[in-house]
Amino acid sequence: MNARPRGKMILADGTRYEGFLTGAAARAGWNGPVWGEVVFNTSMTGYQEVITDPSYAGQIVVMTYPQIGNYGVTVDDNEKSATAARALVVRDLQEFFSPGPGRTSLEAFMVKQSLPGLTDVDTRAITRRIRDKGAVVAAIGGADARDEDLLELARSKRLDRAERLVANVSGTLNAVHAGESGRAAVIDLGVKKSIVDNVRRLGVTTQVFDADFRAKDILDGGFDFVVVSNGPGDPADIPEVVEQVNQLIGRTPMLGICLGHQLIACALGAETYKLKFGHHGANQPVIDHRTSQVFITSQNHNFAVSDDIADHAGVTITYTNAADGTLEGFIDEHRKIECVQFHPEASPGPHDCRFIFDRFYEKAKEWNHAQA
């Protein structure tokens, strides 16, 4: 049986899930309870990449795969040095892990990162609740916390606005990475390490700009292309970032990923909307309408760009989601923009779409050559 203290999670609609506290929450002096928007992730591997993915800032992550922690954690799998998620909810957190080079315990990592967790919970029940009724805010507390207080906490909290979430997670990555040839600017709205790694893999010198970047600094920097990164929160919350992005449009080749894809779309005047419960997993099927090929992609977003972006001159829809038809990508040859809602860098998830970085760099050279 669990030597861990009892705990529970209560959703804003009052639904209650019992379990045991783990990670930081199991330690004396935990400054619980904690609240956040609940999302479920269906990846069967990659829990470390998930809890260190800045895009989960402000969210309670429920893993649908029941046994988490089987292979411990390894430093170079972190997407960011600090965990971003508010809490990790699982069915069976593993105390022991299969040994391997550089591996340490997940629970110890959660304690070090002060990431609270809840285990022994029926995660499938939570998933089906969210699938049927949509995303919801919840609060997690120990046995001593009164249900009414947790319910009140879950109901009273408004979701943090993106600018606060982005501010918390942006800017902690090292600024410049030298490369052999070419220069790339990465706008860090909560960028995952693996996106920076995939840009650097192209051999370009890579400079990371914080969320409060000025378009002018980038335009003056003589970059071959700009990447607008992933990040947490609602794209509609950060008009000032959209404004800066807008100034870059057409003047430098731009690759938008996830939040970046949404912000560029907003800059073009398209609408974004909130999905019922979002796409969070490593098995989302995406169709490329140019080749009718299907790719299995890694995704983590609660918002999407509406199809009416196709009405904008020059924009062509490239990818849509094979399961629910939502927009997954567009290109604007004229404005030298390629955007994807999914995560070509994966981490976690399949490497099927890593070629997008290489193909975009070739396209950027073409665009720049044509420009000159």
């Binding site: 591997t45 499938r124 998933t127 089906r128 699938r131 490593a282 099927p285 299907v294």
Partner: protein, 1091 residues
């Protein structure tokens, strides 16, 4: 992308009889694929010699040829049917090798048949060990150091390079057949020779041993455009060195970081692209634990055992999708059956853990060591789903039908512990438990077993918790009971640990409001709403079924059908066939069929066969959980063989409504003592018998009845531990072990009816009318288990009056038992006296064969009777006596157990069966022999060595063989007799007379048939070395007079020209016309005469 043009008809080659390494998974995938092909509007032509499969049902394919899987038969069928394309990837290695033969020989080209699903160079690149290595290196992938050799000389050279230990892996074989790990030079030479012989292309790979590395498998789909998905990832608990088919395996992968798993996934796809697959394939990898180095082991370019497991583990129907991909569809164009809204271009996400455990039958093969290696030896397997590894593991252990309630304690000698950990065996899991209990730690157990510490720590968790259960007074707190159930402990296990009754634990648990819940297998971890009701039962908080609002409360009557569990000797795919037909019949009657089974390889656990599938152990607690959840109108026990029947009493006592024959009648038939009382009441003769529960009583009764005798334990199937006893001396040898295995219940001593003809009768009854489904005459004398004997419909040499009397007795027994459903009765006929020696109040393993022979789906009929319908006596009153002959021949696994004597006896040992159909008995029999893998090339040598009592009887058949151009070789005594009848014979000595004569000839390939019939136990033992040599060289060995006669007659018909092939649909159609009819009362009436 629309389908390939110009495809109207497709030929599918099946996998033939169930053998070790190529089991019933090919019936499951073949059936699913054929249904997909017909849904595409194609005419499907099938060749498959296995009558026990759903695939060979007449209504499954358009033209079904129950013909031998040989080049000649395939060629004859292609010539007759002229299919547009051939799909080679659905029949395992047999179909693949045959397809290559058909292509290389130009037959496909000759008749304009295109190959689809995979092209031939792809098969060669994948199956040819050296070609595959080049392919991997070109894709930049690492493979173990190795060399490909075609001779023993080349092998010795490779040995100097690679050193020992080294593994030898033949090309184009399956189930690791012919492969082996060599630790000494002697091993090396022996295994290389076997490997070269077993490989159709005479090629083996000598490879550095990476024993102990972690072993993984990915089940991958790819379409014509190169889109690909991983359907399922599998991690082997048993590391490299134990064949994946003989390993405990877990899905999904448990101990790889995402980064490591994605690299493996990329590697699998680059191999799939290089080979160019349209459909499904299995790719195997090994990973070195300390460094994470990943190497490629092999790839199987077709659906396989693991794709059947992957389909059941994820709910993704691989064979169905693979068939359509072979036709040219792309993954995006095909729907995901489980979740209609998403395409087949989707990777299942699991929110549960799957554990598969193989099922062995080592106890059936005395002299075979329970040691696992790179060659498969398991007969079947079970699968279980749980929310944690421990829950799934204990459920799987419970499903094995080995009397384990879960991770039980098995007494193992402490001295053997370390050996039992380091040498893989079927009991290694229990050795781990014993090791922990004896105080060894995870590090030491890992060092010995190389099993990954994550698995070991989970097992240690179970051992620790069990200690706490013992220390815990009963009843425990609610929290403790809940934790125990979530750890996978069954009420029966807990009862054992607490020293109370199972019902006490169940009552306490339910009193604490702790109940199992039902979860759904939906391929998407709950992300989308799934349509297909495929369930498993666990201990968690929420139930998918109750809160499944979408399920309307229709008033359909629900019927639970209990499956037959894992495939094992005596309890094979025939019972799965019956369960599937029962489910179909229940559905056709407008009721809701609910299947409960735990065998991942079979059609019964295909989720669209019944309305609801519970993938659960067929054991008391789990069946009761289904019954409590579904509240069915009743439960059908009759079609799963012995497994459901064992539960009948307890389930009936717990209030379950038994559909069909009642508990009382079943017991009267199953309990041998009560059965004899019944027969005495009915005036039906049974072999004189007596019951004894002590040595003295046994010897006394034996003397009274008179030798020879059969010594048999109670309530057992497959003749387990039943022994023929010819003299007092022999009974004294056997009595002690027989008493031990009967667990204090009395032993039965039967008069052995020597030289009797054995007859099997299957019948169906609706409680009033009894219909005889089939009367089968066995070729082998009674004493060879019915499951190991060839048999024929209609009976060959029995007088009409005998058949009529047997039918009258069967009807009387059925009526006396108030039989509702199916029954099998077995008779021994000697000097026109009919002895009934067994009544089985259920469907028997002959039912699929009888259905194919008579063209009637007897199980469906029986199910309708069980559900209360009356039999249509007009239509079924008269026993069908086909005017063509159907012969069933068993197939044995002796090739996999070289050290085992292939002598037959009352204990069943065959793993599968084939069927031959022909106008005459001889044609049908020889076809069945070819289907069973029998070859006798022109001018072959035949060795004759028989006991004196048979010497006269063999003269005529041996003479016939000589006239057909075969060379006769015999021992001196036999040679003298043959020469005196003008038969030229080459004399050779048996070992006991000094020189090596016969063994050298067999090993030199000069002898292709051994005829060896001994009588006394001693002479059987003396001749054993001959049969072992024959077995090792895959030389046919005939040990009974009936078998020898039939073979010779069959060969004579063959010499009369090419094989005649005919579809079973055409044969069955002939029965619709008023052929010779016989009424239930046994009078024969000519066709057309007034009834």
């Amino acid at each position: 992308m629309p389908r390939l043009e110009g495809i109207r008809s497709v030929m599918v080659i099946g996998s033939g009889p169930i053998v070790i390494g190529q089991g019933c998974e090919f019936d499951y995938s073949g059936t699913q694929a054929i249904r997909a092909l017909r849904e595409e509007g194609l005419r499907v032509v099938l060749i498959n010699s296995n009558p026990a499969t759903i695939m060979t049902d007449p209504d499954m394919a358009d033209a079904t040829y129950l013909e031998p899987l040989t080049f000649d038969a395939c060629r004859a069928i292609i010539e007759k049917e002229r299919p547009d394309v051939l799909l080679p990837t659905l029949g395992g290695q047999t179909a693949l090798n045959l397809s290559m033969e058909l292509s290389d020989s130009g037959v496909l080209e000759e008749f304009g048949v295109r190959l689809i699903g995979v092209d031939l160079n792809a098969i060669r690149r994948a199956e040819d060990r050296s070609g595959f290595k080049v392919l991997c290196e070109e894709a930049g992938l690492d493979t173990p150091r190795s060399a490909v050799v075609h001779s023993i000389e080349e092998a010795m050279h490779a040995l100097d390079l690679l050193g020992l230990p080294a593994i030898i892996r033949p090309s184009f074989t399956l189930g690791g057949s012919g492969s082996g790990m060599a630790r000494t030079r002697e091993d090396f030479v022996r295994i290389v020779k076997t490997g070269l012989r077993k490989s159709p292309v005479h090629e083996v790979l000598i490879e550095e041993s990476i024993e102990g590395w972690k072993e993984f498998e990915l089940e991958v789909m790819r379409d014509r455009d190169g889109n690909h998905v991983v359907v399922c990832s599998i991690e082997n608990l048993d590391p490299m060195g134990v064949h994946t088919g003989d390993s405990i395996t877990v899905a999904p992968v448990q101990t790889l970081r995402d980064r490591e798993y994605q690299l493996m996934r990329d590697a699998a796809f680059s191999i799939m692209d290089a080979v160019g697959i349209w459909g499904g394939a299995n790719v195997q990898f090994a990973v070195e634990p300390a460094t994470g180095r990943m190497t490629v082991i092999e790839m199987n370019p077709r659906v396989s055992r693991s794709s059947a497991l992957a389909s059941k583990a994820t709910g993704y129907p691989i064979a169905k999708v693979a068939a359509r991909l072979a036709l040219g569809y792309t993954l995006a164009e095909l729907p995901n059956d489980v979740v209609g809204t998403i395409p087949a271009a989707f990777e299942p996400s699991l929110d549960y853990v799957v554990v598969k455990i193989p099922r062995w039958n080592f106890e059936k093969f005395r002299g075979v060591e329970d040691v696992l290696g790179s060659q498969m030896q398991s007969i079947g397997e079970v699968m279980a789903l749980g929310r944690t590894f421990n829950e799934a593991l204990q459920k799987a252990l419970r499903s094995l039908e080995s009397d384990w309630a879960g991770f039980d304690t098995v007494e193992l000698a402490p001295a053997d512990l370390e050996r039992l950990l380091s040498t893989p065996s079927s009991m290694r899991l229990f050795a781990v438990k014993a090791a922990y209990t004896a105080g060894l730690d995870t590090a030491r157990i890992h060092e010995l077993s190389r099993i990954d510490p994550w698995f070991l720590e989970n097992l240690r968790g179970l051992v620790e918790f069990e200690k706490r259960v013992r220390a815990q007074a009963f009843p425990p707190t609610r929290e403790f009971m809940r934790a125990a159930k979530r750890f996978g402990f069954s009420d029966r296990q807990l009862a054992g640990l607490w020293g109370v009754g199972e019902d006490d634990v169940t009552a306490a648990r339910e009193g604490m409001d702790i109940h199992p819940v039902v979860k759904m297998v939906d391929t998407c971890a709950g992300e989308f709403e799934a349509r297909t009701p495929y369930y498993y039962i666990v201990y968690d908080d929420e139930c998918d079924v109750e809160s499944d609002a979408r399920r309307s409360r229709q008033a359909k009557k629900k019927v639970v059908i209990l499956g037959s569990g894992p495939n094992r000797i005596g309890q094979g795919i025939e019972f799965d066939y019956c369960c599937v037909h029962a489910a179909m019949a229940v559905r056709e009657m407008g009721c809701e069929s609910i299947m409960v089974n735990c065998n991942p390889e079979t059609v019964s656990t295909d989720f669209d066969i019944s309305d609801r599938l519970y993938f659960e152990p067929v054991s008391y607690e789990h069946v009761m959980a289904v019954v409590r959840k579904e509240k069915p109108a009743g439960v059908i026990f009759q079609f799963g063989g012995q497994t459901p029947l064992k539960l009948l009493h307890r389930l009936a006592a717990a209030g379950v409504t038994v559909l069909g024959t009642g508990v009382e009648s079943v017991d009267r038939a199953e309990d041998r003592e009560r059965c004899h009382e019944l027969m005495n009441e009915l005036g039906i003769m049974h072999p004189p018998c007596a019951f004894a529960s002590s040595r003295e009583a046994a010897v006394r009764e034996a003397a009274k009845i008179g030798y020879p005798l059969l010594l048999r334990p109670p309530y057992v199937l497959g003749g387990r531990s039943m022994e023929l006893v010819r003299s007092e001396e022999e009974i004294l040898e056997s009595i002690d072990s027989a008493l031990r295995s009967s667990e204090s219940r009395a032993l039965m001593i039967d008069k052995f009816i020597e030289g009797a003809v054995e007859v099997d009768v299957d019948c169906v009854s609706d409680g009033e009318n009894v219909v005889i489904a089939g009367v089968m005459e066995h070729m082998e004398e009674a004493g060879i288990h019915s499951g190991d004997s060839s048999c024929v419909i209609p009976p060959l040499a029995l007088e009409e009056e005998i058949i009529a009397e047997i039918k009258r007795q069967t009807v009387r027994i059925a009526r006396a038992l108030n039989l509702v459903g199916m029954m099998n009765a077995q008779f021994a006929i000697k000097d026109n006296r009919i002895y009934c020696f067994e009544i089985n109040p259920r469907a028997s393993r002959t039912v699929p064969y009888v259905s194919k022979a008579t063209g009637v789906q007897w199980v469906k009929l029986a199910t309708r009777a069980i559900m209360g319908e009356k039999l249509d006596m007009q239509r079924y009153g008269e026993t069908i006596m086909p005017d063509y002959m159907s012969v069933k021949v068993p197939v044995f696994p002796f090739e996999k157990f070289p050290g085992v004597d292939s002598i037959l006896g009352p204990e069943m040992r065959s793993t599968g069966e084939v069927m031959g159909i022909g106008e005459t008995f001889d044609e049908a029999f020889i076809k069945a022999q070819f289907a069973a893998g029998y070859r006798l090339p022109k001018g072959a040598g035949v060795f004759i060595s028989v006991a004196n009592r048979y010497k006269r009887k063999v003269i005529f058949p041996v003479k016939a063989l000589r006239e057909m151009g075969y060379h006769i070789v015999a021992t001196p005594g036999m040679a003298k007799v043959l020469r005196s009848h003008g038969v030229p014979v080459r004399v050779v000595h048996k070992l006991s007379e000094g020189d090596q004569g016969i063994i050298d000839m067999v090993e030199a390939g000069e002898v292709h048939l051994v005829v060896n019939m001994a009588w006394s136990r001693k002479s059987i033992e003396d001749d054993k070395f001959i049969r072992l040599a024959a077995n090792k060289m895959k030389v046919q060995c005939i040990t009974t007079m009936a078998g020898f006669h039939a073979l010779v007659l069959g060969l004579q018909t063959l010499s009369g020209g090419p094989l005649h092939v005919e579809s079973i649909q055409n044969y069955n159609a002939r029965l619709a016309k008023p052929a010779a009819r016989e009424t239930a009362q046994g009078e024969v009436r000519a066709a057309g005469e007034a009834a």
